[in-house]
Amino acid sequence: MSSDLIIIGTAVLVAANCASIGAFLVLRQMAMMSDAISHAVLLGIVIAVFVVGGRETVPVIVGGVLSGILTVSLVELLYRTGRLKKDSSIGIVFPFLFAIGVILVTQAGNVHVDAQHVLYGSIEFAPFDTLYVDEINIGSKSLWVLGILAVANISFISILYKELKISTFDASFAVSVGLMPVLIHYLLMIMVATTAVVAFESVGAIMVIAFFIVPAAGSYLLTDRLSRMIPLSVTLGIVSAVAGYLFALSADVSIAGSMATMAGIVFGLIWVFAPHRGLVSRWRRNSKQRFEVDVGIMLTHLNNKIEPHHQLTSSSISDALGWTIEYSRKVCEFSLDEKLVKKDESGRLLLTESGRKKAEHYTSG
C-alpha cells in the first residue's frame, strides 16, 4: 500500500472514530472533558513506556485509558466537594497531569516521545510503523489499531444506542427506567479515553479534540435526529481529514494542523450557510419577520388615518413611520400585490376589505 493511502486511511479512521463518539460529547455538554482526557492520556502513555521499556501498543493504550479514567475521577472528586465548579476542576486537573507528563517526557532521554509531537502528532510517520505477526508484515500498525478501535466504537454505539440516547437527553428518566446513566457515563468516558489515546499517537492531543468536537458541533446544526447526527458527524470528520491532508501536501505544512483548520472551515461554512440554523437563514428569517410586522404597522396606520382629506402616499408614510422612502415604497408595493391596499384615482392609498380585516386583527389582538 502506498504511504499516501496509509496516511489518508489513518486520518479517515481517526476522524471517524472521534467524530462518532464526539456526537455524544457535544450533546451531553462534555466537550471540555474530552479536552482534559486528550491531554491527560500523555501521562499514562509516558508511564506505560517507562514500565514496559518501549512503545508497545497494548500497554500504551492501557496506560492512556487508566489516566483518562483518573482524570474523570479527579475532576468529579474535586467538583463533588462543592469547593470548585466543574469547569474549574477540569481546568486544574488536566494541566496538572499534562505538566507531569511533559516533565517526564523532557527529563527521560530514553522515551521516544517528543514534547511538541505530543500536541500535533506525527501522522507523517504512520507508513513506517508496520505490524508483524510471526515475522510476516501484515501492514500499517496504525491502520490495524484504528480499525479495531472503529469496530469497538461501532459496537459500543450500536449495542448501547438506546441507553446512550436516553441518558443523554433525559438522565432522570434513564434513572427511573433503570438504565444506569452513571455506568453509561463511565463507559462513554472509557471509550473517549481509548479513542483519545489511540488517535493521540497519530494526530496529537489538540487534533483529537478538533475531531471530537468540531464535526459533531457542525452536524448538530444540520439535523435534529441523533440517528442522522452520528453518520453526518463522521462524514464531516472524514471530509475535513481528506481536505486537510491534500492542503498540507500542497502547502508543505503540518498535516494534523491543516486537518484541524479544515474542520474549522467546514464548521464555519455550516455556521453561515446551514439551512435552518445558519447565520444567513437566521438573518433572512429575521428580516422577513420584520417586514411582515412592518406591513402590519402600515395597515394599522392607514386604518387609523382614514379621513377623506388625508393624503396617504408612500412618502407620507415614510414621514409618519420614520422609514426610508425606498423601504416604504417596498412595503406599499408588497401590500398592493397582496391586495391589502388599493390606490384611488388621485393616488391615495386605501385599505381593501382584507386589509381592513388584517389591520383590525392587529389592533384587537
Partner: protein
Amino acid sequence: MVLEEILSVLVGIFTDYTLRYVALGSAILGITSGALGCFTLLRKQSLFGDALSHAALPGIGIAYLFAGTKDSMLLMLGAAVFAWFGGIVTLGITSTTRIKQDAALGITLSVFFGMGIVILTYLQSIGGASQGGLDRFLFGQAAALIESDVINLGILAAGCFVVLIVFFKEFKIATFDGAFAQSLGYPTKYLGALLTSVIVVAVVIGLHTVGVVLMVAMLIAPAAAARQWISGLKSMLILSAIFGGISGIVGSMISSMTEGMSTGPVIVITITAILGISLVFSPKQGYLFKYLRKKRNYQGNSSKIGNISENGRSRG
C-alpha cells in the same frame, strides 16, 4: 546537598543575571494571572482562558510572518489580537447557535491551535532555523527571557493593574450581579469586553513563561486556592496574586536547577500543589478540619444518644 543547591539558586536570584529575569518574568505572570483569574473563576468562565491562550498561537506566527522579527512586543500584539478574536468567535457561536459554551470553547481552541501549527510549520518550511524560537510558546521557556522581554511584560502587567484598580468597583458589581449592575446604568457589555481584554493581556504575558497549553491553570488555580481561605473579593485578589507570584518564582527556580526543563510545567505543578494544600488545610473549609469537625460532632452526638438511652432505662 539539595539544600546547598537551593541556597545557591536563592542567591542566584540576586546575583545571576539570567536567573533574575527568569524569576522576575515568571513572578510578573503569576501575579497578573493570579489577580485576574479571580474574575474568570467567579464569572464561571474558567475554561475561557484555555480557548484564549490557544487562539493566540496563530497570532504569534502571523506577526512574525509579516514583521519578520522576534521583537516580543510585536509578537505579543499579534497574540493578543488573535486571542481576542478567538473570544469573539466563541461568544458568536454560543449566541447565534444552539451549541453550548463547552463545545464552542473546544471548537475555538482546537481550530485556532491547528491554524497556529499550520503557520508555524509554514514558517519552518520557508525560513529554516530562523523560526526556531517560536515553538517555545507551546510550553513556555522562561529561560529565554531577556531584559527587554521582562520590561515589556512589566509594562503590560502594570497596564492590567491600572485598569483593574480604576474599574475595580465596576468589575466587582458586574461579576457578582450583572443584572443589578445593568439596572444601575453600568455598561455591563463594555465592562465585560474590558475585563476580557485585560485577561487577554494576562494570557499573552503567560505565553512566554508557561506557554499556550498550560496557561489555563495559571488563571484558575491561584484564584481557586485563594478562594479556600478568604471570601472578600479584594483580599482574595491579593492572596491569589501572591500565590501566583510564589509559584512563578519557585517554579522558575526549580526548573533552572535542572537542565532542559520547561518552566511552564514546573510552575503549573507548583501552583497545583498550593491549591492542594489549600483544599486540605484551609481552616474554614478544608477537608482536614471538616473531617475533624465531623468526627467531633459524631462523638458528641453518640455520647448524647448514650445519655438519652441511659435516662430512658433508668426511668423504665
